[in-house]
Symmetry: C2
Amino acid sequence: MSFFPASLEELVDKFAALPGIGRKSAQRLAFHVLSLPDAEAESFAAAIVNAKKSVHCCKVCQNLTEGDICRICASTTRDKSTICVVSEPRDVLSIERGREYNGTYHVLHGVLSPMSHVGPDDIKIKELLVRVAENDIEEVIMATNPDTEGEATAMYISRLLKPFSVKVTRLAYGIPVGSNLEFADDATLNRAIEGRTEM
Amino acid sequence: MSFFPASLEELVDKFAALPGIGRKSAQRLAFHVLSLPDAEAESFAAAIVNAKKSVHCCKVCQNLTEGDICRICASTTRDKSTICVVSEPRDVLSIERGREYNGTYHVLHGVLSPMSHVGPDDIKIKELLVRVAENDIEEVIMATNPDTEGEATAMYISRLLKPFSVKVTRLAYGIPVGSNLEFADDATLNRAIEGRTEM
């Protein structure tokens, strides 16, 4: 039996349904929302509805945008002949943070995962193939995560891209900058040796 | 410069303003909300507005409720002559979980904290004094947290309650059940020795 009002329980349930938020944290968040001034709580609710309503996928790269095409695809200074394929919109942010990459992106919105019933038709692979077929693309960089599913997705897509005679590359594996050999795992260290470059 | 649409940034800001949610987690939560079906996102927003609108403080004990008085104060089986004073509504839940306590509560909605500019008038102390003065109360159990601020609040209130000739008690300090002496801190261990009981 719960000693909280139904509408509070309902709010706790909503927070608890978010990823990485347990029951206790959800309670804390719900109490916090109740302690907010009315206007702030309403603007929180409005932000949810508003973001949900106005954000959709860029027609070109499938990244999230409010317009027809995203800022990166609309930019005239970016190299449109290079496409970096990532699994999630937040990965775009990570790569942009480096300020090195000047090409465009393609966001898959997921990775192939037979365990979670995610097949090739559930992520934006078709859109990538159409894009490569219809445009003058020179290189596709596979930048999915270096885990089993990201790896399998990269392999799968690179095979589909074979007929288009486009250069398909993968992010380099190796020891992270600033880290310590002692703490690198075996797989990473082996890949770092395999991928060694001349100085 | 951000590469996300403004309405998404706004939602990330809202999540990041919640307690214990950093920028990265806020992004994850915002992306999750965007991935929800429209109806679910709207019901999340509605739950916030609804909880904020219908939840308020019980007239008697200041616990959160949707009605005039809360379920515990409305119950006919609870002992109305005992009041357990806690700082937050969630503390009521913690004590109820034990299924031992059968009295009523008083929720302060905070603790005295000069550092955060929380004074006696900012928490529900006056309501407690009025309640003790106007009702036949036998015992007030101070159950604020055993930290500096909770301690100071308990001391302050117990002094205010002196004139009412009501029994004022404090939760027992000691080693937690099922724990290990080796890991108990000095202060707890000293309190456990001080508060030793005959077997």
